[in-house]
């Protein structure tokens, strides 16, 4: 059985404590033939190389400046390309850097869930306890499990991603569409605008059709499937051959709550999440031009 997506946090006082926490996981991964990628600072790299000894050459040590600037998007892309189609994916160690802002950290953690949680990999996110308190708080809240020198421990302070990331959507690229709607009667207009924007973003015919369907189902969810006195909003942002659409609205009524409300949205998108924005349900739908099992 292949490894599901694992996303753990590591809070450490210094490089030695960090290496002490992650080393057993890296050793186990190397024993299993999995690849290991680290994106950590020079001092941590040096301590890690020494600890790994003759296994160090099997690890890909990448510089933070290479994969974490200007933001973590390059690391996300690197991880996706290194994840094989079958078998276990890599173990990735990412480290919050001195240049990491609270906003960057929140975006990274939201992106990791949004973009990578269908990947068979283990992601370890390391944050120094002495970093900016706001950044440490992001790291503390982002991970349901923490990795320590004593092993894995549950983290009761963890929160669901959308609660902690009010603005990361703004980092997905330029806004290409913003509109409001009130219910199903407006959705033909919504679909037309979404199709135009997604097509312009370079998604291609099939992916655009899938994106339109996914956003349509998300729109139906946020308006509760009925005409609403409250306006629902849709905002679409475009980056390199990808669009992220965020929709908010009053949501479904209490007695028609569905335990898996986004299953059709997920089926036709690369990723979808449900969170909250200003007390209202907020759905994010990521659609890309890349391969996705749901359409191809």
């Amino acid at each position: 059985m292949s490894t599901p997506f694992e996303h753990l946090g590591v809070l450490y006082a210094g490089p030695e404590q960090l290496v002490g926490a992650i080393l057993p996981t890296l050793d186990a991964a190397l024993d299993d033939g999995r690849s290991v990628i680290t994106v950590v600072d020079r001092r941590t790299t040096a301590v890690l190389r020494e600890a790994l000894d003759d296994r160090a050459p099997r690890v890909a040590f990448r510089a933070p400046s290479e994969l974490l600037r200007p933001g973590p998007e390059r690391l996300v892309a690197e991880v996706r390309t290194r994840t094989p189609r079958s078998g276990d994916g890599p173990v990735v160690v990412g480290q919050y850097q001195g240049f990491t802002t609270e906003e960057d950290a929140a975006f990274w953690e939201a992106a990791a869930t949004l973009v990578l949680d269908d990947q068979r990999l283990t992601l370890l996110c390391a944050c120094a306890r002495g970093a900016d308190p706001a950044v440490v708080e992001v790291a503390r809240q982002a991970h349901g499990t923490l990795l320590t020198t004593g092993g894995r421990i549950p983290n009761p302070a963890a929160r669901t991603p959308a609660d902690r990331s009010p603005t990361p959507s703004s980092m997905w690229g330029r806004r290409v569409l913003r509109l409001t709607f009130r219910g199903p009667a407006d959705l033909a207009r919504v679909r037309e605008r979404v199709a135009r924007a997604a097509g312009t973003a370079g998604l291609g015919v099939d992916r655009t059709a899938a994106a339109v369907l996914a956003v349509h189902e998300a729109a139906l969810f946020v308006c509760g499937g009925r005409e609403s006195a409250d306006e629902c909003t849709l905002e679409m942002r475009e980056s390199d051959r990808a669009v992220l659409t965020e929709l908010t609205g009053p949501g479904p009524t209490r007695h028609d709550r569905d335990p898996a409300p986004l299953r059709y949205v997920e089926l036709f998108s690369d990723a979808a999440t449900l969170g909250e924005r200003a007390g209202r349900p907020a759905v994010r739908v990521l659609s890309t031009a890349g391969p996705a099992a749901s359409v191809d």
């Binding site: 219910g183 199903p184 033909a188 339109v212 139906l220 059709y264 036709f268 359409v295």
Partner: protein, 288 residues
């Protein structure tokens, strides 16, 4: 009128459905102008305001057909007060058909070789049994267009009718209907659907689908409805669920099935995701 022109053949008994009175009137106006242009005698049944006259009806105004005023004057366009019809026929299908047949024969006797008929939404209360009257009446009209040079355009203003009336009307007109975003008709033995099918029109789509199923069942033998989705540009979960539900309703009849033709890849994935009952087949995958 609706954006989709589904069928590449003359439309002889069509239901036009619209949620917008303005859009509906625009479509009716175009249709009347077309019929007047080809020399048809147009019989239009509509509602007058209390104490009103046809000159004050929208059909004779700026929103109406361009040729309406002249045609009303020459008699090529004849307005029939719907209230008078209801009073005379008491809503009975047979009486209404007889009245309409009388109008057609009178026009033919006057030398018209083509007759076009249209009636505004009847605002039916849809009491018990009235659905049967609707079906009888529309069935009679279908027989009429088969035997005489008559074109019929029935109107359904969604905002003015009860849900039951909408379902009944759409169901009986499944062979040729034009809605705001979708249309349907019977072509080469299949129910051909076109346009965009989403949650907003799902109930009407379901009514049309049930009408097609009922029609198929009425021919005897195991119901086998073929639905051609080749011109469907968009279909959402709600409408796919309607198809699955309709297929499930056949499960009590051995041999009964609903066969989908030419669904897009996306629709096929959606059908599989929603769940396919054994009575729902996709042509080419499940059928020989």
């Amino acid at each position: 009128m609706a954006p989709s022109t589904l069928l590449d053949r003359p439309r002889v008994h069509t239901l036009v459905v619209s949620e917008s009175e303005r859009q509906l009137r625009a479509g009716i106006s175009r249709w009347i102008d077309d019929e007047l242009t080809v020399g048809a005698k147009v019989l239009y049944t509509g509602w007058l305001d209390p104490g009103g006259t046809v000159e004050r009806h929208w059909i004779a105004g700026p929103a109406g057909p361009q040729g309406a005023r002249r045609a009303l004057g020459t008699g090529q366009l004849e307005f029939v007060d719907i209230e008078a019809v209801i009073e005379e026929t008491r809503g009975g299908a047979d009486a209404l058909l007889e009245l309409q047949l009388g109008g057609v024969h009178a026009a033919l006797d006057d030398g018209w070789d083509r007759i076009a008929m249209s009636a505004e939404s009847a605002h039916r209360p849809m009491v018990e049994g009235e659905g049967d009257q609707v079906r009888r009446h529309e069935s009679g009209l279908t027989d009429l267009v088969a035997d005489a040079p008559v074109t019929i355009l029935c109107q359904l203003a969604v905002g003015e009718e009860k849900d039951a009336a909408i379902r009944a009307s759409v169901g009986v007109h499944h062979r040729d209907l034009v809605d705001d975003s979708w249309s349907a008709g019977e072509v080469d033995g299949a129910w051909l659907v076109a346009g965009e099918l989403d949650a907003h029109v799902a109930r009407r789509f379901a009514a049309g689908l049930r009408g097609a199923l009922a029609d198929d069942a009425s021919r005897g033998g195991d119901p086998e409805l073929h639905v051609d989705l080749g011109r469907v540009e968009f279909m959402d979960v709600t409408c796919v669920r309607m198809v699955a539900l309709a297929a499930r309703s056949l499960e009590g009849s051995p041999g009964a099935r609903l066969v989908l033709h030419r669904p897009s890849r996306l629709v096929r994935r959606l059908v599989d995701a929603v769940g396919r009952p054994p009575t729902l087949l996709v042509a080419g995958e499940d059928t020989r």
